[in-house]
Symmetry: C2
Subunit: 370 residues, 2 copies
Amino acid sequence: MKRPFNFAPGPAMLPEPVLTRIQSELLDYQGLGFSILEAGHRGPQVAEIMRSLKARIRSLLKVPDNYDILFCQGGGRMQFSMVPMNLLGAGTLSTYIITGAWSKAAAKEALRFGRVQTAYSGSGTRAPANEELEVLPESSYCAYCDNETIHGVEFPATPMLTDAPDVPLVADMSSNFMTRPVDVSRFGLIWAAAQKNFGIAGLSIVILRRDLLGLATAEVPTLLNYGVYSRTESVPNTPPVFQLYVANLMAEWIENEGGLEKLNARALVRASQLYTVIAELPDTYVSHVAEGSRSRVNVVFRLRDEALTSVFVKEAAAAGFINLAGHRSVGGIRASMYNAMPIEGAVKLADFMRDFAVRHPAKTKIVVPA
Amino acid sequence: MKRPFNFAPGPAMLPEPVLTRIQSELLDYQGLGFSILEAGHRGPQVAEIMRSLKARIRSLLKVPDNYDILFCQGGGRMQFSMVPMNLLGAGTLSTYIITGAWSKAAAKEALRFGRVQTAYSGSGTRAPANEELEVLPESSYCAYCDNETIHGVEFPATPMLTDAPDVPLVADMSSNFMTRPVDVSRFGLIWAAAQKNFGIAGLSIVILRRDLLGLATAEVPTLLNYGVYSRTESVPNTPPVFQLYVANLMAEWIENEGGLEKLNARALVRASQLYTVIAELPDTYVSHVAEGSRSRVNVVFRLRDEALTSVFVKEAAAAGFINLAGHRSVGGIRASMYNAMPIEGAVKLADFMRDFAVRHPAKTKIVVPA
């Protein structure tokens, strides 16, 4: 059975060795005669998985000692609530940098808990320069989305809050977590849902500077309080054991692949395959994302002839490139290429795009200014 | 490889056919060439799993049409928060029936959100009679735990709020969900974490009378609002796909086994094996749970000679009966026997208990009154 190249935005492709490993030990974990699905969350097997997973994240991302690594459920939208509920503290103001759908949704959720200012509000086509960011020093934190999955906008580098350097920076790294090295010490908090680059749906990873713990009030539900996860080593109750197990296998796989520098290089190669075709064939394809803000992991583009969008998705699927439709809110095409996508997938999709352009010649030519 | 009998309180044993099915299709779901772990949450495969799972729950439990079936993350402790945050409405008072550790923890969490009265407060040895329950009609709901996993106390029948029949009854059925038929129409809300009788950790099932939707205020985080799950068909964001898939396989397995009457009969046979030995050998074993409140799924008992507790756990494990230690808060022994435990497991554990009593004769004889 040939595996298709799965360009889904998440849940997404997993590396075949990870899948094979899960399958091989599914009925008998480490020769114990039971499945990891049946292992008690306070037993030695799960404790070892969690210890190993934390150690691997700490090593891969070089997480400093004064940061906790926490495991939560509920995905990104739960973090949209947990961030203000935990970090506002006695303050009432938070700041959001809006670069697309997810940062916008995060800012909207924060309004339930306090006042929200926008440090920058874009239309999903680029990341702002540091000079464009307006952050008040009294803001409890400044949140942004490092990679906008729907719009395909990625920050080329960690933003700097030059006006308010002491305001903790909070990053949603759901779709580019573990795809490049990050200087964790620049952040107050980094969070990511696992189902794109680091496993499967049902797990979020939170990396939190420890001095930001303890700000939650008594009205915060127990399971929305980061302090509870910190105190209980992320076992406030039964954690999502299988997700932790898969994430640990992913972390091991990343180590085996050579770490984050290697994965970043691979992501850049994959993305450049597609951005090159888009640039080559302006009569057929167009990207609305500014150069310098183009995502390495979600290549979002449109067909000049919108009527060809569904044809493209259908023909691609028939050729073994699945899940290329853009998000239902924006349409177009989105090729999500996370850690598990082989470079071959991007190369072959680029070939397909060239072939598609020949088979569906543009009705009108675009004049590209010299 | 012989599988041990796993008496873990949850995560717990899964039926072997369910595990084998997961394993067999792990790399290739329905011949599509990708894993269910890689399937998009808005794609046709996951939609079909969710449709099928809901339909099976509705059919197995005969859920009336005016009830929603919702899927949440976060386990029981998340429901401890969600119940008051959603059901208090304009009211400020909730009522809890305390029969053990879990109902006590639920009541404690409810204090974050309003006033709490106890309708009954026991010491974890029995379920109250209906006449003992004191519920004020102005209470927004009355919550109880249908089976106290730690103390082994189970309600023999659904309690009746004779003083306040209009107060919605809320049941925590985490450890006995899908183990016996239930008249859902008696409840305002039933919730259960999946990892005992219905799958794996990371999924909770909520069955909610639809007129109780819409009471949550704007301060309730999006993912803690039942209304959001209802409106989005439990896809407010990426749901825990693998857990839903396993729960659907469990539901199918329950159907194949003959449904809830059959599973209840099996649970009664299993439990009676152990309670019979305890009654037979009062010099060695003792149950502190009153007859009539003894759990069908968590048989909790102590060794008269406390020094033998760890010997019992160790010898049992060596004989293939694993995870028999009582909860760390109460000690003793707990044999959790959920849907996947074969009757053979209970019969053989009973034999082991008799044998253990012979090998470790009591130092003092208990005089049982005639």
